[in-house]
Symmetry: C2
Protein backbone atom coordinates (compact mmCIF):
# COMPACT_ATOMS: atom_id res chain seq x y z
CA UNK A 1 0.00 0.00 0.00
CA UNK A 2 2.65 2.47 1.03
CA UNK A 3 3.87 3.15 -2.45
CA UNK A 4 7.44 4.31 -2.71
CA UNK A 5 8.61 6.69 -5.31
CA UNK A 6 12.30 6.92 -5.84
CA UNK A 7 13.63 10.12 -7.32
CA UNK A 8 16.79 10.42 -9.28
CA UNK A 9 18.25 7.31 -7.80
CA UNK A 10 18.27 8.85 -4.37
CA UNK A 11 16.07 6.89 -2.04
CA UNK A 12 13.67 9.51 -0.81
CA UNK A 13 10.05 8.74 -0.16
CA UNK A 14 7.43 10.98 -1.68
CA UNK A 15 4.08 10.69 0.10
CA UNK A 16 3.55 7.05 0.61
CA UNK A 17 -0.08 6.08 0.81
CA UNK A 18 -2.07 9.27 0.34
CA UNK A 19 -5.42 9.38 2.00
CA UNK A 20 -8.24 10.53 -0.22
CA UNK A 21 -7.50 10.89 -3.86
CA UNK A 22 -6.38 7.40 -4.60
CA UNK A 23 -2.94 6.02 -4.74
CA UNK A 24 -1.40 8.84 -6.69
CA UNK A 25 1.86 10.23 -5.44
CA UNK A 26 0.62 13.68 -6.32
CA UNK A 27 -2.27 13.57 -3.92
CA UNK A 28 -2.03 16.12 -1.18
CA UNK A 29 0.04 18.72 -2.95
CA UNK A 30 -1.43 22.07 -2.10
CA UNK A 31 -1.78 23.37 -5.61
CA UNK A 32 -3.73 20.36 -6.75
CA UNK A 33 -7.30 19.66 -5.86
CA UNK A 34 -8.75 16.20 -5.67
CA UNK A 35 -11.06 14.81 -8.29
CA UNK A 36 -14.72 14.26 -7.63
CA UNK A 37 -15.93 10.67 -7.79
CA UNK A 38 -17.40 11.06 -11.25
CA UNK A 39 -14.31 12.74 -12.53
CA UNK A 40 -12.04 10.18 -11.01
CA UNK A 41 -14.00 7.40 -12.65
CA UNK A 42 -13.80 9.10 -15.99
CA UNK A 43 -10.13 9.74 -15.65
CA UNK A 44 -9.47 6.16 -14.71
CA UNK A 45 -11.22 5.20 -17.88
CA UNK A 46 -9.38 7.77 -19.94
CA UNK A 47 -6.09 6.71 -18.54
CA UNK A 48 -4.13 4.44 -20.72
CA UNK A 49 -1.59 3.37 -18.17
CA UNK A 50 1.57 4.45 -16.53
CA UNK A 51 4.92 4.88 -18.12
CA UNK A 52 8.31 5.30 -16.60
CA UNK A 53 11.15 6.94 -18.46
CA UNK A 54 14.82 6.41 -17.80
CA UNK A 55 17.09 9.36 -17.26
CA UNK A 56 18.15 10.74 -20.61
CA UNK A 57 15.24 9.28 -22.53
CA UNK A 58 12.84 11.38 -24.56
CA UNK A 59 9.25 11.73 -23.45
CA UNK A 60 8.32 13.95 -26.37
CA UNK A 61 10.34 14.44 -29.50
CA UNK A 62 10.40 17.65 -31.51
CA UNK A 63 8.62 17.23 -34.80
CA UNK A 64 7.20 13.84 -34.01
CA UNK A 65 3.53 13.12 -33.68
CA UNK A 66 2.49 12.19 -30.22
CA UNK A 67 -0.72 10.35 -29.50
CA UNK A 68 -0.27 10.59 -25.78
CA UNK A 69 -0.47 13.13 -23.00
CA UNK A 70 1.36 12.80 -19.74
CA UNK A 71 1.04 13.88 -16.17
CA UNK A 72 4.35 13.74 -14.43
CA UNK A 73 3.99 11.89 -11.17
CA UNK A 74 7.58 11.93 -10.08
CA UNK A 75 10.96 12.93 -11.39
CA UNK A 76 12.48 15.86 -13.26
CA UNK A 77 12.57 16.59 -16.96
CA UNK A 78 13.41 19.44 -19.28
CA UNK A 79 11.25 20.84 -22.02
CA UNK A 80 13.37 22.44 -24.73
CA UNK A 81 13.66 23.58 -28.31
CA UNK A 82 16.73 23.45 -30.48
CA UNK A 83 18.06 25.31 -33.47
CA UNK A 84 19.45 23.45 -36.46
CA UNK A 85 23.02 24.08 -35.29
CA UNK A 86 22.26 22.44 -31.96
CA UNK A 87 21.89 25.52 -29.82
CA UNK A 88 19.37 24.53 -27.22
CA UNK A 89 16.94 26.58 -25.16
CA UNK A 90 15.46 24.94 -22.13
CA UNK A 91 11.95 26.30 -21.84
CA UNK A 92 11.04 24.78 -18.54
CA UNK A 93 12.20 22.39 -15.91
CA UNK A 94 9.36 19.93 -15.60
CA UNK A 95 8.42 18.75 -12.12
CA UNK A 96 5.82 16.44 -10.62
CA UNK A 97 2.32 17.68 -11.25
CA UNK A 98 3.27 19.23 -14.57
CA UNK A 99 1.35 18.25 -17.62
CA UNK A 100 2.99 17.40 -20.93
CA UNK A 101 1.77 17.28 -24.46
CA UNK A 102 -1.12 19.69 -24.42
CA UNK A 103 0.27 21.43 -27.45
CA UNK A 104 0.59 18.24 -29.37
CA UNK A 105 -2.99 17.50 -28.50
CA UNK A 106 -3.89 20.51 -30.61
CA UNK A 107 -1.16 20.54 -33.18
CA UNK A 108 -0.33 17.20 -34.61
CA UNK A 109 3.36 17.38 -33.90
CA UNK A 110 5.12 18.71 -30.86
CA UNK A 111 7.36 21.65 -31.52
CA UNK A 112 9.56 20.90 -28.60
CA UNK A 113 11.19 17.96 -26.91
CA UNK A 114 10.98 16.73 -23.38
CA UNK A 115 13.82 14.74 -21.90
CA UNK A 116 13.85 12.97 -18.58
CA UNK A 117 16.61 14.09 -16.23
CA UNK A 118 15.87 11.47 -13.63
CA UNK A 119 13.65 8.49 -13.78
CA UNK A 120 10.28 10.01 -14.59
CA UNK A 121 7.03 8.31 -13.75
CA UNK A 122 3.97 9.45 -15.66
CA UNK A 123 0.32 8.78 -16.15
CA UNK A 124 -0.51 8.45 -19.81
CA UNK A 125 -3.67 9.57 -21.54
CA UNK A 126 -4.80 9.03 -25.07
CA UNK A 127 -4.87 12.16 -27.11
CA UNK A 128 -7.71 10.98 -29.30
CA UNK A 129 -10.10 10.56 -26.46
CA UNK A 130 -9.10 13.77 -24.94
CA UNK A 131 -11.65 16.03 -26.36
CA UNK A 132 -14.38 13.70 -25.24
CA UNK A 133 -13.46 14.94 -21.80
CA UNK A 134 -14.49 18.42 -22.78
CA UNK A 135 -17.96 17.16 -23.38
CA UNK A 136 -18.46 14.81 -20.50
CA UNK A 137 -16.58 16.71 -17.83
CA UNK A 138 -16.48 20.37 -18.70
CA UNK A 139 -14.87 21.14 -15.38
CA UNK A 140 -11.92 19.00 -16.36
CA UNK A 141 -11.85 20.63 -19.75
CA UNK A 142 -11.64 23.91 -17.98
CA UNK A 143 -8.69 22.62 -16.01
CA UNK A 144 -6.89 22.13 -19.28
CA UNK A 145 -7.26 25.80 -19.95
CA UNK A 146 -5.90 26.28 -16.45
CA UNK A 147 -2.86 24.19 -17.22
CA UNK A 148 -2.20 25.97 -20.45
CA UNK A 149 -2.65 29.42 -18.94
CA UNK A 150 -0.43 28.55 -16.06
CA UNK A 151 2.29 27.26 -18.37
CA UNK A 152 1.99 30.44 -20.32
CA UNK A 153 2.51 32.56 -17.22
CA UNK A 154 5.62 30.66 -16.44
CA UNK A 155 6.86 31.22 -19.96
CA UNK A 156 6.05 34.92 -19.77
CA UNK A 157 8.20 35.18 -16.70
CA UNK A 158 11.02 33.25 -18.32
CA UNK A 159 10.97 35.47 -21.36
CA UNK A 160 11.02 38.57 -19.22
CA UNK A 161 13.98 37.11 -17.43
CA UNK A 162 16.02 36.16 -20.45
CA UNK A 163 15.15 39.34 -22.27
CA UNK A 164 15.63 41.88 -19.50
CA UNK A 165 17.51 40.55 -16.52
CA UNK A 166 21.29 40.59 -16.28
CA UNK A 167 23.11 37.30 -16.04
CA UNK A 168 23.31 37.47 -12.28
CA UNK A 169 19.69 38.44 -11.81
CA UNK A 170 18.60 35.81 -14.24
CA UNK A 171 20.50 33.01 -12.56
CA UNK A 172 19.20 34.05 -9.16
CA UNK A 173 15.68 34.18 -10.52
CA UNK A 174 15.80 30.74 -12.07
CA UNK A 175 17.34 29.09 -9.03
CA UNK A 176 14.79 30.72 -6.79
CA UNK A 177 11.98 29.66 -9.05
CA UNK A 178 13.21 26.10 -9.10
CA UNK A 179 13.61 26.07 -5.37
CA UNK A 180 10.11 27.34 -4.79
CA UNK A 181 8.55 24.96 -7.23
CA UNK A 182 10.42 22.10 -5.63
CA UNK A 183 9.19 23.27 -2.26
CA UNK A 184 5.57 23.26 -3.42
CA UNK A 185 6.09 19.67 -4.47
CA UNK A 186 7.60 18.73 -1.15
CA UNK A 187 10.94 17.97 -2.67
CA UNK A 188 12.84 20.12 -0.22
CA UNK A 189 14.19 18.14 2.70
CA UNK A 190 16.41 19.65 5.35
CA UNK A 191 16.31 22.89 3.42
CA UNK A 192 17.96 21.01 0.58
CA UNK A 193 16.84 20.05 -2.92
CA UNK A 194 18.62 17.57 -5.09
CA UNK A 195 18.98 19.20 -8.46
CA UNK A 196 19.36 16.51 -11.09
CA UNK A 197 20.94 18.82 -13.67
CA UNK A 198 24.33 20.32 -14.31
CA UNK A 199 25.53 23.80 -15.11
CA UNK A 200 25.18 23.21 -18.82
CA UNK A 201 21.46 22.72 -18.34
CA UNK A 202 21.29 25.89 -16.37
CA UNK A 203 23.22 27.72 -19.04
CA UNK A 204 20.82 26.47 -21.71
CA UNK A 205 17.88 27.69 -19.68
CA UNK A 206 19.42 31.08 -19.01
CA UNK A 207 20.63 31.73 -22.52
CA UNK A 208 24.18 32.12 -21.23
CA UNK A 209 27.41 30.35 -21.99
CA UNK A 210 28.52 27.58 -19.70
CA UNK A 211 31.56 29.48 -18.54
CA UNK A 212 29.67 32.61 -17.69
CA UNK A 213 26.96 30.65 -15.94
CA UNK A 214 29.62 29.09 -13.80
CA UNK A 215 31.06 32.44 -12.87
CA UNK A 216 27.71 33.88 -12.02
CA UNK A 217 26.88 30.95 -9.78
CA UNK A 218 30.23 31.47 -8.15
CA UNK A 219 29.17 35.02 -7.39
CA UNK A 220 25.89 33.89 -5.83
CA UNK A 221 27.96 31.57 -3.66
CA UNK A 222 30.37 34.28 -2.66
CA UNK A 223 27.44 36.47 -1.77
CA UNK A 224 26.33 33.70 0.59
CA UNK A 225 22.96 33.48 -1.09
CA UNK A 226 23.13 29.82 -2.04
CA UNK A 227 25.06 26.69 -1.36
CA UNK A 228 25.38 24.13 -4.10
CA UNK A 229 27.67 21.17 -3.80
CA UNK A 230 27.35 18.15 -5.97
CA UNK A 231 23.62 17.88 -6.60
CA UNK A 232 22.56 19.31 -3.27
CA UNK A 233 21.23 22.84 -3.45
CA UNK A 234 20.43 25.09 -0.51
CA UNK A 235 18.92 28.52 -0.37
CA UNK A 236 20.87 30.35 2.31
CA UNK A 237 19.29 33.78 2.07
CA UNK A 238 15.92 33.93 0.51
CA UNK A 239 15.39 37.63 0.96
CA UNK A 240 18.80 38.28 -0.54
CA UNK A 241 18.03 36.09 -3.50
CA UNK A 242 14.70 37.78 -4.06
CA UNK A 243 16.44 41.12 -4.07
CA UNK A 244 19.09 40.06 -6.54
CA UNK A 245 16.57 38.26 -8.70
CA UNK A 246 14.20 41.23 -8.82
CA UNK A 247 11.64 38.72 -7.72
CA UNK A 248 8.00 39.65 -7.86
CA UNK A 249 5.33 37.81 -5.96
CA UNK A 250 3.36 35.53 -8.16
CA UNK A 251 -0.37 35.47 -8.41
CA UNK A 252 -2.08 32.86 -6.33
CA UNK A 253 -3.92 30.51 -8.51
CA UNK A 254 -6.88 28.38 -7.73
CA UNK A 255 -5.73 24.80 -7.30
CA UNK A 256 -6.20 22.67 -10.31
CA UNK A 257 -7.47 19.12 -10.45
CA UNK A 258 -4.84 16.56 -11.02
CA UNK A 259 -5.16 14.13 -13.83
Amino acid sequence: MAERTVIGGVGRVLRPDPHRCGRCALAGLKFLRCLSEGEAAFVRDLKRGEMTFDPGSLILHEGEEADSLYTVVSGWAIRYKTLADARRQILKFVLPGDFLGLQSSIFAAAEHSVEALTEVRTCVFLRKRFWEMQERHPQLGYEMVWVAASDEQHLDAALLSVGQRSALERAAYLLLDLYIRAEERELVVNETVLFPFNQQHLADALGLSLVHTNKVIGRLRTMKLIKWEGRAFQLLDRAGMEAVAKWEARANAVPRAFL
Copy 2:
Protein backbone atom coordinates in the same frame (compact mmCIF):
# COMPACT_ATOMS: atom_id res chain seq x y z
CA MET B 1 -23.76 46.61 -44.51
CA ALA B 2 -20.30 46.77 -45.93
CA GLU B 3 -18.59 47.45 -42.66
CA ARG B 4 -15.34 49.33 -42.87
CA THR B 5 -12.52 48.70 -40.53
CA VAL B 6 -9.83 51.28 -40.41
CA ILE B 7 -6.44 50.13 -39.26
CA GLY B 8 -3.85 52.32 -37.69
CA GLY B 9 -5.30 55.46 -39.10
CA VAL B 10 -4.56 54.37 -42.62
CA GLY B 11 -7.71 53.95 -44.62
CA ARG B 12 -7.51 50.37 -45.70
CA VAL B 13 -10.56 48.19 -45.91
CA LEU B 14 -10.44 44.79 -44.32
CA ARG B 15 -13.04 42.46 -45.75
CA PRO B 16 -16.13 44.47 -45.99
CA ASP B 17 -19.27 42.43 -45.77
CA PRO B 18 -18.20 38.83 -45.23
CA HIS B 19 -20.51 36.19 -46.49
CA ARG B 20 -21.35 33.58 -43.93
CA CYS B 21 -20.12 34.15 -40.46
CA GLY B 22 -21.83 37.37 -39.71
CA ARG B 23 -20.53 40.85 -39.92
CA CYS B 24 -17.24 40.24 -38.22
CA ALA B 25 -14.16 41.67 -39.80
CA LEU B 26 -12.32 38.50 -38.95
CA ALA B 27 -14.52 36.30 -41.04
CA GLY B 28 -12.72 34.69 -43.89
CA LEU B 29 -9.26 34.57 -42.43
CA LYS B 30 -7.80 31.20 -43.28
CA PHE B 31 -6.76 30.24 -39.82
CA LEU B 32 -10.18 30.85 -38.36
CA ARG B 33 -13.15 28.62 -38.88
CA CYS B 34 -16.69 29.85 -38.79
CA LEU B 35 -19.04 29.20 -35.92
CA SER B 36 -21.93 26.83 -36.22
CA GLU B 37 -25.39 28.31 -35.81
CA GLY B 38 -25.77 27.13 -32.24
CA GLU B 39 -22.33 28.34 -31.32
CA ALA B 40 -22.89 31.68 -32.94
CA ALA B 41 -26.10 32.16 -31.03
CA PHE B 42 -24.40 31.31 -27.80
CA VAL B 43 -21.52 33.58 -28.50
CA ARG B 44 -23.84 36.43 -29.36
CA ASP B 45 -25.40 35.91 -26.00
CA LEU B 46 -22.09 35.65 -24.21
CA LYS B 47 -20.84 38.72 -25.91
CA ARG B 48 -21.02 41.80 -23.83
CA GLY B 49 -20.37 44.27 -26.54
CA GLU B 50 -17.62 45.85 -28.52
CA MET B 51 -14.94 48.10 -27.30
CA THR B 52 -12.52 50.26 -29.13
CA PHE B 53 -9.26 51.37 -27.61
CA ASP B 54 -7.29 54.41 -28.59
CA PRO B 55 -3.63 54.12 -29.46
CA GLY B 56 -1.60 54.13 -26.26
CA SER B 57 -4.44 53.02 -24.03
CA LEU B 58 -4.26 49.93 -21.87
CA ILE B 59 -6.49 46.98 -22.63
CA LEU B 60 -5.20 44.93 -19.72
CA HIS B 61 -3.22 46.24 -16.83
CA GLU B 62 -0.60 44.23 -14.95
CA GLY B 63 -1.79 43.32 -11.48
CA GLU B 64 -5.32 44.49 -12.01
CA GLU B 65 -8.31 42.22 -11.97
CA ALA B 66 -10.01 41.94 -15.27
CA ASP B 67 -13.55 40.77 -15.63
CA SER B 68 -13.43 40.78 -19.39
CA LEU B 69 -11.94 38.81 -22.22
CA TYR B 70 -11.26 40.23 -25.63
CA THR B 71 -10.99 39.11 -29.18
CA VAL B 72 -9.06 41.59 -31.23
CA VAL B 73 -10.97 42.41 -34.36
CA SER B 74 -8.66 45.00 -35.79
CA GLY B 75 -5.56 46.89 -34.85
CA TRP B 76 -2.21 46.15 -33.25
CA ALA B 77 -1.26 45.92 -29.61
CA ILE B 78 1.61 44.76 -27.47
CA ARG B 79 1.48 42.35 -24.59
CA TYR B 80 4.32 42.96 -22.14
CA LYS B 81 5.68 42.57 -18.65
CA THR B 82 7.81 45.01 -16.75
CA LEU B 83 10.33 44.90 -13.96
CA ALA B 84 10.11 47.30 -11.05
CA ASP B 85 12.83 49.49 -12.57
CA ALA B 86 10.82 49.88 -15.75
CA ARG B 87 12.69 47.47 -17.95
CA ARG B 88 10.05 46.14 -20.30
CA GLN B 89 9.81 42.89 -22.19
CA ILE B 90 7.32 42.73 -25.01
CA LEU B 91 5.99 39.20 -25.04
CA LYS B 92 3.95 39.40 -28.18
CA PHE B 93 2.71 41.74 -30.83
CA VAL B 94 -1.02 41.24 -30.79
CA LEU B 95 -2.84 41.18 -34.10
CA PRO B 96 -6.42 40.73 -35.26
CA GLY B 97 -7.77 37.33 -34.35
CA ASP B 98 -5.68 37.15 -31.19
CA PHE B 99 -7.40 36.50 -27.95
CA LEU B 100 -6.64 38.44 -24.78
CA GLY B 101 -7.22 37.76 -21.14
CA LEU B 102 -7.36 34.01 -21.01
CA GLN B 103 -4.86 33.99 -18.19
CA SER B 104 -6.83 36.44 -16.19
CA SER B 105 -9.85 34.25 -16.67
CA ILE B 106 -8.00 31.65 -14.62
CA PHE B 107 -5.94 33.74 -12.31
CA ALA B 108 -7.73 36.65 -10.84
CA ALA B 109 -5.22 39.25 -11.92
CA ALA B 110 -3.36 39.55 -15.17
CA GLU B 111 0.38 39.27 -14.81
CA HIS B 112 1.00 41.30 -17.90
CA SER B 113 -0.27 44.40 -19.61
CA VAL B 114 -1.64 44.93 -23.06
CA GLU B 115 -1.38 48.30 -24.73
CA ALA B 116 -2.97 49.36 -27.98
CA LEU B 117 -0.53 50.57 -30.60
CA THR B 118 -3.21 51.63 -33.03
CA GLU B 119 -6.86 51.98 -32.56
CA VAL B 120 -7.89 48.49 -31.49
CA ARG B 121 -11.37 47.17 -31.96
CA THR B 122 -12.39 44.23 -29.82
CA CYS B 123 -15.26 41.98 -28.95
CA VAL B 124 -15.72 41.75 -25.23
CA PHE B 125 -16.83 38.74 -23.24
CA LEU B 126 -17.67 38.44 -19.61
CA ARG B 127 -15.20 36.39 -17.68
CA LYS B 128 -17.75 35.17 -15.20
CA ARG B 129 -19.93 33.55 -17.77
CA PHE B 130 -16.99 32.08 -19.50
CA TRP B 131 -16.87 28.75 -17.91
CA GLU B 132 -20.52 28.22 -18.73
CA MET B 133 -19.29 27.92 -22.25
CA GLN B 134 -17.29 24.87 -21.32
CA GLU B 135 -20.47 23.15 -20.37
CA ARG B 136 -22.80 24.23 -23.08
CA HIS B 137 -20.41 24.25 -25.98
CA PRO B 138 -17.55 21.92 -25.28
CA GLN B 139 -16.22 22.45 -28.75
CA LEU B 140 -15.75 26.11 -27.97
CA GLY B 141 -14.18 25.21 -24.69
CA TYR B 142 -11.78 23.11 -26.62
CA GLU B 143 -10.95 26.08 -28.78
CA MET B 144 -9.82 27.88 -25.69
CA VAL B 145 -7.26 25.17 -25.14
CA TRP B 146 -6.34 25.73 -28.76
CA VAL B 147 -5.80 29.40 -28.19
CA ALA B 148 -3.74 28.84 -25.10
CA ALA B 149 -1.61 26.15 -26.70
CA SER B 150 -1.06 28.26 -29.73
CA ASP B 151 0.01 31.23 -27.64
CA GLU B 152 2.35 28.97 -25.81
CA GLN B 153 3.99 27.81 -29.01
CA HIS B 154 4.56 31.37 -30.00
CA LEU B 155 6.13 32.07 -26.65
CA ASP B 156 8.32 28.99 -26.90
CA ALA B 157 9.65 30.29 -30.16
CA ALA B 158 10.23 33.75 -28.72
CA LEU B 159 12.12 32.36 -25.77
CA LEU B 160 14.28 30.25 -28.04
CA SER B 161 14.98 33.36 -30.03
CA VAL B 162 15.90 35.63 -27.17
CA GLY B 163 17.85 32.95 -25.42
CA GLN B 164 19.82 31.50 -28.31
CA ARG B 165 19.80 33.67 -31.38
CA SER B 166 22.30 36.45 -31.94
CA ALA B 167 21.02 39.99 -32.21
CA LEU B 168 20.96 39.85 -36.00
CA GLU B 169 19.26 36.48 -36.17
CA ARG B 170 16.79 37.54 -33.56
CA ALA B 171 15.81 40.73 -35.30
CA ALA B 172 15.42 38.91 -38.59
CA TYR B 173 13.32 36.26 -36.91
CA LEU B 174 10.97 38.70 -35.28
CA LEU B 175 10.48 40.81 -38.37
CA LEU B 176 9.83 37.72 -40.45
CA ASP B 177 7.38 36.43 -37.89
CA LEU B 178 5.53 39.73 -37.84
CA TYR B 179 5.45 39.88 -41.59
CA ILE B 180 4.04 36.39 -41.88
CA ARG B 181 1.44 36.92 -39.22
CA ALA B 182 0.41 40.15 -40.88
CA GLU B 183 0.16 38.30 -44.15
CA GLU B 184 -2.13 35.66 -42.67
CA ARG B 185 -4.37 38.48 -41.54
CA GLU B 186 -4.37 40.07 -44.95
CA LEU B 187 -2.59 43.13 -43.71
CA VAL B 188 0.04 42.99 -46.42
CA VAL B 189 -0.80 45.18 -49.40
CA ASN B 190 1.57 45.70 -52.27
CA GLU B 191 4.09 43.57 -50.46
CA THR B 192 4.01 46.16 -47.73
CA VAL B 193 2.87 46.15 -44.11
CA LEU B 194 2.41 49.23 -42.03
CA PHE B 195 4.15 48.58 -38.77
CA PRO B 196 2.62 50.76 -36.06
CA PHE B 197 5.60 50.51 -33.74
CA ASN B 198 9.02 52.06 -33.46
CA GLN B 199 12.47 50.69 -32.91
CA GLN B 200 12.14 51.00 -29.16
CA HIS B 201 9.27 48.53 -29.28
CA LEU B 202 11.35 46.20 -31.34
CA ALA B 203 14.24 46.55 -28.91
CA ASP B 204 11.97 45.71 -26.00
CA ALA B 205 10.75 42.62 -27.77
CA LEU B 206 14.24 41.49 -28.72
CA GLY B 207 15.83 42.12 -25.38
CA LEU B 208 18.33 44.47 -27.00
CA SER B 209 19.17 48.10 -26.49
CA LEU B 210 17.65 50.66 -28.78
CA VAL B 211 20.97 51.59 -30.29
CA HIS B 212 22.01 48.06 -31.02
CA THR B 213 18.62 47.25 -32.44
CA ASN B 214 19.00 50.15 -34.78
CA LYS B 215 22.38 48.96 -35.95
CA VAL B 216 21.17 45.46 -36.53
CA ILE B 217 18.25 46.70 -38.57
CA GLY B 218 20.70 48.74 -40.52
CA ARG B 219 22.57 45.59 -41.32
CA LEU B 220 19.44 43.83 -42.53
CA ARG B 221 18.87 46.81 -44.79
CA THR B 222 22.41 46.76 -46.12
CA MET B 223 22.03 43.08 -46.81
CA LYS B 224 19.03 43.98 -48.95
CA LEU B 225 16.77 41.70 -46.96
CA ILE B 226 14.25 44.30 -45.92
CA LYS B 227 13.11 47.78 -46.65
CA TRP B 228 11.66 49.84 -43.86
CA GLU B 229 10.95 53.50 -44.30
CA GLY B 230 8.66 55.37 -41.99
CA ARG B 231 6.06 52.83 -41.01
CA ALA B 232 6.15 50.90 -44.27
CA PHE B 233 7.90 47.59 -44.09
CA GLN B 234 8.80 45.36 -47.00
CA LEU B 235 10.34 41.94 -47.14
CA LEU B 236 12.78 42.06 -50.04
CA ASP B 237 14.30 38.63 -49.79
CA ARG B 238 12.31 36.08 -47.92
CA ALA B 239 14.71 33.22 -48.45
CA GLY B 240 17.56 35.37 -47.31
CA MET B 241 15.68 36.43 -44.21
CA GLU B 242 14.81 32.85 -43.40
CA ALA B 243 18.44 31.92 -43.68
CA VAL B 244 19.62 34.71 -41.42
CA ALA B 245 16.79 34.12 -38.98
CA LYS B 246 17.46 30.39 -38.76
CA TRP B 247 13.80 30.10 -39.52
CA GLU B 248 12.09 26.79 -39.11
CA ALA B 249 8.79 25.94 -40.68
CA ARG B 250 5.97 26.08 -38.23
CA ALA B 251 3.46 23.36 -37.64
CA ASN B 252 0.19 23.77 -39.41
CA ALA B 253 -2.59 24.03 -36.96
CA VAL B 254 -6.21 23.21 -37.41
CA PRO B 255 -8.16 26.43 -37.80
CA ARG B 256 -9.78 27.63 -34.68
CA ALA B 257 -13.24 29.06 -34.29
CA PHE B 258 -13.37 32.75 -33.87
CA LEU B 259 -15.13 34.27 -30.98
